[in-house]
């Protein structure tokens, strides 16, 4: 079973809960959601509890992530986008911590679940829609009407813009989900080769070196992907929020 590359995504109930016929069990995925929140919030809380004028190492990391996201949001959505800073910061820290926790062997990767990433993407798009209509009313629909397009092309352009807007939550969620899923499956497959070749005698042990090297290299790559996907998620969130703040601005 340890060699099944899909098994790591299996959800198992820890505390079965059922309300009104709907399953709300506390599962291993729920456990790692709690762990993600505990790790990220605990780190940020204790790293900044000193409030040092000259930051220590942990406080530097916390401040760096804060300024990283603040810079990203200011660049992507302007200074008026800073009201969304807690959201973007939470999303980035949550996704990053979840991805990094998933790098531990036998840990559950919650971002490899399409429903989780899709829910996060819907949260972003929902925020964009609600804020866009609240702030600009029907002018928010200008988002789908780029300025300077000849009238004949307008229906086509509007159709393309609407489709592109609707595909955003899909692309946002599938990108993160697929990256984490594929990366973990690949890692598991190559690691499984090492184990199975190792049981095949001297020649097998010699041959197992290659997948072992591959596994080490892939682990490094996966750490990069874990950070990169959190970054991409946050950057795209900033871009979409920019549309809600400046609908005619592109």
């Amino acid at each position: 079973m340890a060699n099944d590359p899909i098994h790591q995504f299996q959800i198992s109930k820890i505390v079965p809960i059922e309300i009104g016929g709907i399953d709300f069990s506390f599962t291993n995925a729920s456990l790692f959601m709690v762990a993600t929140v505990a790790c990220a919030a605990g780190f940020l809380y204790f790293a900044t509890s000193q409030r040092g004028l000259i930051p220590g190492r942990a406080q530097s990391v916390a401040e760096m992530s804060y300024e990283f996201i603040a810079g990203m949001l200011r660049e992507g959505a302007g200074s008026s986008g800073m009201k969304f800073f807690p959201l973007v910061f939470s999303l980035f820290m949550f996704v990053l911590t979840a991805n990094l926790l998933g790098m531990f062997p036998y840990f559950y990767t919650i971002t490899s679940q399409i429903i989780v990433t899709f829910a996060l993407a819907l949260l972003v798009i929902g925020t964009v829609l609600v804020y866009g209509f609240y702030k600009h009313g029907l002018h928010f629909l200008q988002l789908f009407v780029p300025s300077g397009v000849p009238g004949a092309l307008l229906p086509l352009v509007i159709a393309i813009e609407v489709i592109s807007f609707l595909s955003r939550p899909v692309s946002l969620s599938v990108r993160l989900f697929a990256n984490m899923l594929a990366g973990h499956i690949t890692l598991k497959v190559f690691a499984g080769f090492v184990a199975s070749l190792g049981t095949m005698g001297a020649l097998g042990i010699g041959g197992a070196v290659l997948p072992l090297i591959m596994t080490v290299a892939l682990t490094g790559l996966e750490f990069l992907v874990a950070f990169l996907q959190a970054y991409v998620f946050a950057v795209l969130t900033c871009m979409y929020l920019n549309d809600a703040i400046h609908p005619g601005g592109h």
Partner: protein, 199 residues
């Protein structure tokens, strides 16, 4: 060996949820997959996943919004203010230092010109004094010279006067030696006077 068989087994299991596990060795795979569905697409867990995501992420968002973001923002702002304050202080101190340097240079220049003036006055005074001394000494020397000249004249006149007497005495003695008779005083006087006028 085991991997390949397990992997081959999962591939159809993912595409066909109702595919029965092929062999007895893999029954546990089928059971764990909850009917063979690929776990990330298994909708039976969606409700629980969503609920716990809402709970955990909601909590996380609240924590970030209420505690972490204001705190880190406060730390950064405080540092920013402090740095700005320190920079202001540094600028103030620099201005002070510049003013002090300027004052110092002004005073230095004043002292230098004053010193120059003093030296000039001293030189001037020394020069006048030297000139006065020289004229005084020159006058004194001239006096002394004049006195010496008068004295020399007196001595000379006296000597000349005495020369006549000596010449008379000498002439008397010579005449006495030569002719053995005393020449009269008046003759000799006349002769000496004549010789003196000739000389």
């Amino acid at each position: 060996m085991f991997v390949t068989s397990a992997y081959a087994q999962t591939a159809p299991a993912a595409t066909d949820p109702h595919a029965a596990p092929a062999g007895g060795a893999h029954t546990e795979t089928g059971a764990d997959h909850g009917g063979g569905t690929f776990p990330p697409f298994d909708a039976t867990h969606f409700s629980s996943q969503l609920l716990w995501l809402v709970i955990t992420f909601g909590l996380f968002y609240l924590l970030m919004k209420k505690v972490i973001v204001p705190r880190v923002g406060g730390i950064l702002e405080h540092r920013h203010d402090r740095i700005a304050q320190d920079l202001d202080e540094a600028a103030r101190l620099k201005a002070e230092a510049d003013a002090a340097v300027e004052t110092y240079e002004r005073e230095l220049a004043a002292a230098r010109s004053k010193g120059h003036k003093i030296a000039e006055t001293a030189r001037e005074a020394a020069k006048t004094k030297a000139a006065a001394d020289r004229t005084a000494i020159e006058a004194e020397l001239a006096d002394k010279l004049a006195a010496a000249e008068t004295r020399i004249g007196e001595i000379k006149a006296k000597a000349f006067a005495e020369v006549g007497q000596i010449a008379e005495d000498t002439a008397t003695a010579i005449v006495d030696q030569l002719i053995g008779a005393k020449a009269s005083g008046d003759d000799i006087k006349a002769a000496v006077a004549a010789a003196k006028t000739e000389a």
